[in-house]
Amino acid sequence: MSARTDYRHWALSAPALVLFTTFLLAPLIMTLVLSFRHFDFYGGIDDSVSLASYAEVLGDWYFYEIFGRTFAIALATTVLCVLIGAPASYFLNRMRPGFRSVMILIILGPLLISVVVRTLGWAIILGNRGVINTFLMDLGVIEAPIKMMYTSGGIVLALVHVMVPYMVLAVWAALQRQDPATEAAAESLGASPLTIFRRIVLPQAMPGVLSGSLIVFSLSASAFATPAILGGRRVKVVATSVYDEFMNTLNWPLGAAIAILLMVSIVVVMVAWNRLVEARFGRSYA
């Protein structure tokens, strides 16, 4: 019986497995192999195995800066998403059902529109001749336009807009699992509203905040479209520099090495984060 069930497990997961191996694992392995190839500006890629690309990335401060900037942007985005998304979900959870559906639609609506379109929208708003600058200059508040395009700040702003729905969904799911009577129970035991929020609501929402952070951080760290449009060549992040290595410099092994390093560092952050969460909340939220 158990052997049969085992067999069925495999049979049922076969389609997913095939999809997974062909479209995810295969390109990944090819990228990995590519990153170990040797590249020469005049001879192109040859078949010899070398660690030159990794040495180049790890030995150049330029790349450290790009990695540093990427993670700083991802971290800032995550923090802002928590600050905006967590309270939003808290209020969402307390709304009347009808009104809540409308609000959910408004919050999730942006997900229906392509990231590129939304980011171009931000470019219109943030540009030197953009909505904000024109408005402020017309009012006479500022003389020269404030530089917002091609800055890390602009990228963070647009990324927050893209990522907040994920945070709201994650936190809201956690809040929904919570029994509303627990707040009443705490109140009957003498807790003030602030104490109820701090000791009862927040701890129960924490797993949602943490998993939401994980999603937002990894998506932001590997985001391409938003930094490409709002950062251009001037504010490079890891994803855009990978693109440049592949499409402009044509140094594919170097691009592959950067991509692999980005992936590895994101995985390391995720695993570490997960460990932390498990250690802290594993027992009560199994």
Partner: protein
Amino acid sequence: MAFLELNALTKRFGPVTAVDRISFNVEQGSFVSLLGPSGCGKTTTLQMIAGFENVTSGKITLNGRDLAGVPARHRGLGIVFQSYALFMHMTTAENVSFGLEMRGVPGAERKIRVARALDLVHLSHLSDRYPRTMSGGQRQRVALARALVIEPELLLLDEPLSNLDAKLREEMQLELRRIQREAGVTTLMVTHDQAEALALSDRVVVLEKGQVQQEAAPFDVYETPHTAFVSSFIGKSNTLPATLVSGDASGSIVECAGVRLQAGATPLAAGPVQIAIRPERIEVVDDGAVLTGKVSERVFLGNQWLLTVATPVGNLLVLRRNAGRSEADIGDTVGLAFRRVDLRILASSEAAA
């Protein structure tokens, strides 16, 4: 002056009157049940006493103190919620300790009191476990300990046993009564389970449609229900429309579907009434039958047989102890008899007609 007094307590939700001028008292140290069918306003009443629901009109007095305007967290009541509402991110001990922390009880004393409360509900061995890893009965005890540890003036229980399976529920009924006695805490329990209310309470308050139907000791609500609703809601009862022909303190005569029957005493005047008799008070007899009828249904309940007998006055439920003999079968004609005092006369109400 009673310990807890509800005076013409009313709650309206827009056009809906959920609680309609409810008045009753709870004596100190007693166990009172608020019993009624679903939607009759039990939870709403409890929520008003707890302070989670505003009072439309009426008055709640606890130990001589008017509760109007006192916020829930200053009422100092112990509440066990229907869902238990345990803090899932805290261990058993932390859950129980929470109320004491809020009261600023120092750590050392807190430990002692938490240990004592857990001992009372027999959960000392699970003090470090999280609720998610405990059974329904255990969680229920944690909720009880959490409510009792603050030594509340009044313990409110909202259907505390409804989430448990039948067997565990019976066990917990006995436990609940023991714990309440040992803690000596005045308790008001809400339930729709009449057996639970009868088994646990010193007094039962029967509610229907937001109104008090009867308030009495369990034996009295069962034996002398005031209304047809109480009679049919508490235990099983055969209720039939009839006409009171004559009556005095010694007994009365009623006519039901053209059959004259001797019934118990009644203060009511001649006219249309309801008559009610419990299935277990009807005997199957060979001689001296008051009514005869044909058995139309027979259900075996283990310790009892439940017969439906078609008689001239209508279908009557008859409950027979299973004495190990075979029982009258479907289609058999049987004679029925009962003591006249067991045939009770209730005021006729349009609702029950």
